[in-house]
Symmetry: C2
């Protein structure tokens, strides 16, 4: 199939050239700044898309669960970090994965270091997550006593090889524009500098897509692992990490009903296709935005055509009069999602804008 | 396996007795009021759970997509309504389904009636959706000219057999308590009475779970098709459709990190497990709430233990001091979801509280 046929259900459609350009751009950003690019694969979850990173020289990746690591091992990836705190619950899975590849785990407490060190039969590389103010996982970066205690514990165990510190500071997702991202990240970098001074051998890896997309100076950071940039999404446009032109995935939805008097349409495309992530747009809750999709290309976004509500399979679209007047049931529309990671997770495969199928991992 | 083993990943766990009791209770409510119970199966999406409805005498069901209809046909269901507006996009799927079972479709416009009537090779039963103020799909209930025009069109076609009117008024999801639900639905019933007066042969079916759970008087409604009541969820507790005791599904999550100083824990359980649906609870955004899970039973909810944030695989749990003091990585916690339909959709199977696996439909 080499052209797009009207879909009979919502479909995640990707622009392969844009994906590849997004990957290349990030690889180049990294190369120009002497950073190692160890991308997160949780967004696309696809072996075929994974191969596009290989073409850019990537040899080490990051995933968010043991199951996802397993999937990419089957594609021959040999260096994989599981960007989620190690706990005894996943020990058998970790040990199995570590017997097959160079596995990196996140160990964030002396208790879990002790358990991993005593129980693992296979060696793992260890990152410790630092919390620089985001208040999610990891040790507070300023708590040098706790860091020292944990590193001492890690170093006691022959199966644990300490590699460095990992930081994902999700506060950048609240920023608007590069200046705000820089201002949010500067105090993070100050904390990291202090840690790096104490542990000069430690590698520091940074995860969030806004910082990786926008910063020029990465301070003591030497590895970056963004994931979302393969597709980007409306949220990243709003942050300023990318422009509409970079958006590489849209959900193509059949039009089920048109209420032209109220400039509203019902799409076959709901919460089980888009996810319930929303942003504010034009003073409305926005779950997606229409983009022109012609000649196998995503074109201009339609500013006023916004998905304002989602039921399980229904999408409620508000649209400008000019569009509602000519739309009819049986047509289809492409919509950019708000958060491409969660949207992609809801599909069993992608179609390219040319109509070719690309497999991906499904829920496990 | 007859007892619950600590999970190595987030798992959707159901209490079979509570599910069956929820189904039975709704079947009894219907029977006592001379209503036909035609349940929606979009919440559980499981053949095995479907069989529990058969035990209560159910012989006609509702689903939200052609794919879901197909899944339940494989279990031998012979009367299925697709509770989503028919459009030409899904015509081939509808025709195929209609060749195999007694299929009911929703036809909401003369254009789509014309297309369905001319193109379908196999007969279908037809509901027309009425919009009584919710502003989602369907014809405004007060627009008698449009209704009359549509019914005339439907009656022209031998493959279309008009059956009645369907109403899902989602405004009841904003209600708190039975009185508010009654006050919201009364004007809906007035509109439906007027329609019924004009078309006395038409069946009227009502869909929303709050109304089906709480109303005593169903006016001109003669069929009900709630779906969520098989599990219920925190949102329905907040509305008043059920009590905590009725909640039949929880997500059981491994504990990854405990920050006892800040009464916070990181769970292995994120947006790809819970969905991003939230409610307000204790003045916080709430994506889930801990419930005691002991001896194969869901017990009391832990009022102050609330999932306040979700990353893709991380859940950020705020919890009371007494719980955070004794919690450790490797433990697991059960959490009631906010919206069980969307949560269940994210899992490939269920475990019972006794640890037995129950298959379900996966994304297609």
């Amino acid at each position: 199939m080499d052209s797009f046929v009207p879909p009979d259900r919502p479909i995640a459609v990707i622009d392969v050239n844009k994906c590849k350009a997004n990957i290349r751009k990030m690889a180049q950003r990294a190369a120009e700044r002497n950073l190692r690019y160890t991308p997160h694969f949780k967004t696309h979850q696809s072996m075929e898309i994974g191969s596009w990173y290989r073409d850019e020289g990537v040899d080490s990746i990051q995933v968010s669960s043991p199951g996802m690591a397993n999937y990419f091992i089957d594609q021959g990836w040999k260096s994989i970090a599981i960007a989620f705190p190690f706990s005894p619950s996943i020990l058998p899975q970790i040990d199995d994965l570590a017997s097959r590849v160079n596995l990196t785990v996140f160990i964030n407490s002396t208790e879990t270091a002790k358990i991993a060190g005593k129980s693992l039969q296979n060696p793992v590389t260890v990152f410790t997550e630092l919390d620089c103010g985001f208040n999610r996982s990891g040790i507070p970066a300023e708590d040098s006593a706790q860091i020292e205690k944990l590193l001492n514990e890690i170093n006691k165990h022959s199966k644990l090889r300490f590699y460095g510190f990992y930081v994902h500071d999700g506060r950048t997702y609240q920023c608007r524009g590069a200046d705000e991202v820089v201002n949010t990240i500067n105090p993070v970098f100050e904390k990291l500098s202090a840690v790096k001074k104490k542990y000069p051998e430690a590698i520091i890896r940074l995860g969030d897509t806004p910082s990786c997309s926008l910063l020029n100076d990465f301070g003591v950071v030497s590895e970056i692992s963004p994931g979302n940039n393969v597709f980007y999404d409306l949220m990243q446009v709003q942050i300023g990490s990318c422009s509409y032109d970079n958006l590489a995935m849209a959900v193509v939805c059949p039009v089920a009903e048109v209420h032209s008097q109220s400039n509203r349409a019902i799409l076959y495309g709901g919460a089980v296709h888009f996810s319930k992530e929303s942003i504010r747009m034009n003073n409305l809750a926005c779950y997606g935005q229409v983009v022109r999709f012609e000649n196998q290309n995503f074109g201009e976004p339609v500013t006023e055509a916004i998905l304002t509500g989602l039921a399980q399979e229904h999408g409620i679209l508000h649209l400008p009069e000019i569009l509602s007047a000519k739309l009819k049931p049986g047509d289809y529309l492409a919509l950019y999602p708000v958060h491409s990671c969660l949207t992609a997770n809801l599909f069993s495969h992608y179609l390219t804008t040319g109509g070719e199928r690309i497999e991906k991992r499904i829920l496990s």
